[in-house]
């Protein structure tokens, strides 16, 4: 028997196709409004200094925006929060540009392109923007990236007895890589997790391993989103919270291992 890892969600961020933020997204997930897919809108990253703002790519802006929703909801602006970033790939457009240049006669890629190519670029910009010097864990687990990030964040909360913010974000590649990895649009979820129940707690979650099948949305558009973008595999958890029901849900993780999440509202 593996243990259950327990944490309290204090803030949520959501941006994706048809989801502009958690406040409006929760009404859609609760079934109060129909889900309609639409191109993802990422707000301007006001926290970034002007120089970094110019150079920041979608994955940076997306991650900053979802994290701010969660941090503001939890009332934890200015806190030195340990963080987990989970990206199924880095900045797709930047990767494309570098590969294209390296295949050409002129291989002189720019310094900015290069430092934006590291998988932890968004984590670096985020720490600069939020002035956070606490540890960050920057992960990738392909389609399992949301689950991998959630597990790592939960071990920080339970083992190190600390708050931790999880940011799972994905951005698309242009062609020709799109055909090999067809992520259709930007999507990100942020969860601010705490070890104990407090005034801003939204829900308690208890997470354990399971071999049961992952939950599938009956809404075909939502299910298409869940399948298409790795971070969207966290949406079934957000739906339980949006519906305000104590219940449990199986989230997708690795091909042979999934996460059972038991949710109690606070």
């Amino acid at each position: 028997m593996t243990p259950k890892l327990t944490a309290y969600i204090e803030g949520i961020g959501l941006i994706g196709p048809g989801f502009n933020d958690w406040a409006s997204g929760r009404q859609i997930l609760a079934g109060q409004q129909p889900y309609q897919s639409a191109k993802t809108v990422i707000p301007m990253p006001e926290l970034l200094p002007a120089a970094e703002r110019r150079r920041a790519s979608d994955i940076v802006k997306l991650t900053l925006a979802t994290s701010l929703q969660a941090i503001i909801e939890a009332g934890l602006q200015g806190e030195n929060l340990p963080s987990v970033f989970s990206f199924s790939n880095g900045d797709g457009l930047n990767c494309h540009s570098i590969c294209e240049m390296l295949a050409s006669d002129d291989r002189e890629i720019s310094p900015t392109r290069f430092h934006n190519s590291v998988h932890n670029a968004a984590a670096g910009y985020w720490s600069i923007a939020t002035k956070t010097m606490a540890t960050s864990s920057v992960l990738c687990a392909f389609d399992a990236s949301f689950g991998a990030g959630l597990l790592d964040a939960l071990t920080q909360v339970t083992v190190d007895d600390t708050r931790c913010i999880l940011m799972a974000s994905d951005t698309p590649y242009p062609e020709p890589m799109f055909s090999k990895r067809p992520i259709p649009d930007n999507c990100g979820i942020a969860l601010l997790l705490a070890p104990r129940q407090g005034g801003n707690s939204i829900a308690q979650i208890q997470v354990s391993f399971t071999h049961d099948e992952a939950f599938k949305f009956s809404d075909t558009a939502l299910e298409a989103l869940r399948i298409a973008i790795p971070s969207a595999r966290g949406l079934p958890l957000l739906q339980l919270i949006a519906k305000g029901q104590a219940n449990s849900v199986v989230l997708d993780y690795l091909d042979d291992l999934r996460l059972l999440v038991e949710v109690k509202l606070c």
Partner: protein, 385 residues
């Protein structure tokens, strides 16, 4: 391991003028010979790329695969995690695929398999399937701190009770992105890199695979077993590609590592520095080290020997620390002829045979990500200071 130990004891370095692929840059590289001749295991053929070839080669050294299989038999395949660091995974495969796009449609070659080569997770996916493990897995990719930070992820998973053991390590291989990328930043030395030298002028890029099997300490442990005693992690929150000039983040990481190990600076017998050999990196690290360690501690960087193996560096240097502990010697820093006196470190240019009890390894990366690890021997655990 034996070759690495011999090279360290004989102060032999592995860097050579860059002749990698079609790269035309006046720099030195640390290349693993024979990777083009590695045959992937039959059932792992889809993972074929330079990075996973090196991973397979690494896993098959020193009886490591036997150790993992024994742990899987003991604990269960689902009780073993896989947490590996890499910065570029199999991106070389994509760089080559972009040269072979269809002239008419621009599509990539049909035999290019993104998920098992280019994707950052591919090396952990490969390793998990290679051993038929069924526990949690992830790649940590935070540039040059990646495979130091895997120890932290695995430590938490074990302490949380989710797993009993973890395959940790790092694998990074030569590719055009890093060679031309570091060149664009003006950070490549035109000669074999000289960490902490007064005339240091940049890095030499290397490639490596290094693995460790991490388990809870037990009474049955051999005296020569290596213990992970402390971990410290921080972020600079300063700049994407330059360290904080005073090494603030690095200082925090070292202090936290000491704190988590319940140690004071005088408990550390040797520091394996990050020591990339760029003027600013070594200066910032030196300021951080002298701020934490008021008494001089013998130290050196392994990068003169191996080059900077980027996402594999943390794991490579953890292995070098393990060898130094087990065989009782302070490894010298290679290529450096005149230590930069301004940096005020006890930087060693000669090997010294001497029993070591506790050693620290530093790994810092782009984006201001810092990790310090403290290792010791099981046989000396009783007299921790």
């Amino acid at each position: 391991m034996q070759q690495t130990l011999d090279a360290l004891l004989q102060a032999r370095q592995a860097l050579k003028p860059c002749d990698f692929e079609t790269v035309d840059l006046p720099t030195f590289i640390g290349e693993v010979e024979g990777l083009n001749d590695v045959n992937m295991r039959d059932d792992m053929a889809d993972y074929d790329c330079r990075n996973n070839r090196l991973a397979q080669l690494g896993l098959e050294q020193d009886g490591f695969n036997d150790a993992v299989n024994a742990a899987a038999a003991k604990y269960g395949q689902d009780r073993i995690g896989v947490f590996l660091g890499t910065s570029t995974a199999g991106i070389l495969e994509t760089e080559l695929a972009f040269r072979n796009r269809d002239k008419l449609t621009g599509t990539l070659p049909e035999d290019f398999i993104y998920s098992k080569t280019q994707n950052t997770y591919s090396v952990a996916d490969f390793t998990r399937h290679y051993f038929k493990l069924a526990g949690p897995a992830a790649v940590v990719s935070s540039a040059c701190s990646s495979s130091a930070k895997v120890f932290s992820v695995a430590r938490r998973m074990i302490e949380a009770g989710l797993i009993d053991a973890a395959v940790v390590g790092g694998v990074d291989t030569l590719c055009l992105t890093t060679l031309y990328g570091f060149n664009s930043l003006g950070l490549l030395s035109t000669q074999a890199c000289r960490p902490y030298d007064i005339a240091r002028d940049g890095i030499s890029i290397g490639e490596a695979a290094a693995f460790a099997l991490l388990e809870r300490p037990s009474h049955a442990m051999d005296d020569s077993a290596v213990l992970l005693l402390g971990i410290g992690e921080s972020s600079d929150a300063y700049h994407m590609s330059s360290p904080h000039p005073d090494g603030l983040g690095a200082k925090m990481a070292m202090q936290q590592a000491l704190q988590s190990a319940s140690m004071t600076p005088t408990d550390i017998d040797y520091i394996n520095l990050h020591g990339t050999a760029t003027p600013s990196n070594d200066a910032a690290e030196a300021k951080a080290v002298t701020a934490v360690f008021t008494q001089a501690v013998p130290c050196s960087s392994s990068k003169g020997a191996t080059g900077h193996t980027l996402g594999a560096a943390g794991a490579v240097e953890a292995v070098i620390c393990a060898l130094a502990l087990q065989h009782g010697f302070i490894p010298s820093g290679l290529n450096t002829t005149e230590v930069d006196a301004e940096l005020k470190l006890d930087y060693r240019l000669e090997n010294q045979l001497q029993p070591l009890k506790r050693v620290m390894s530093n790994s810092f990366g782009f984006g201001g990500t810092n990790c310090s690890l403290i290792f010791g021997l099981a046989g000396t655990k009783g007299d921790a200071g």
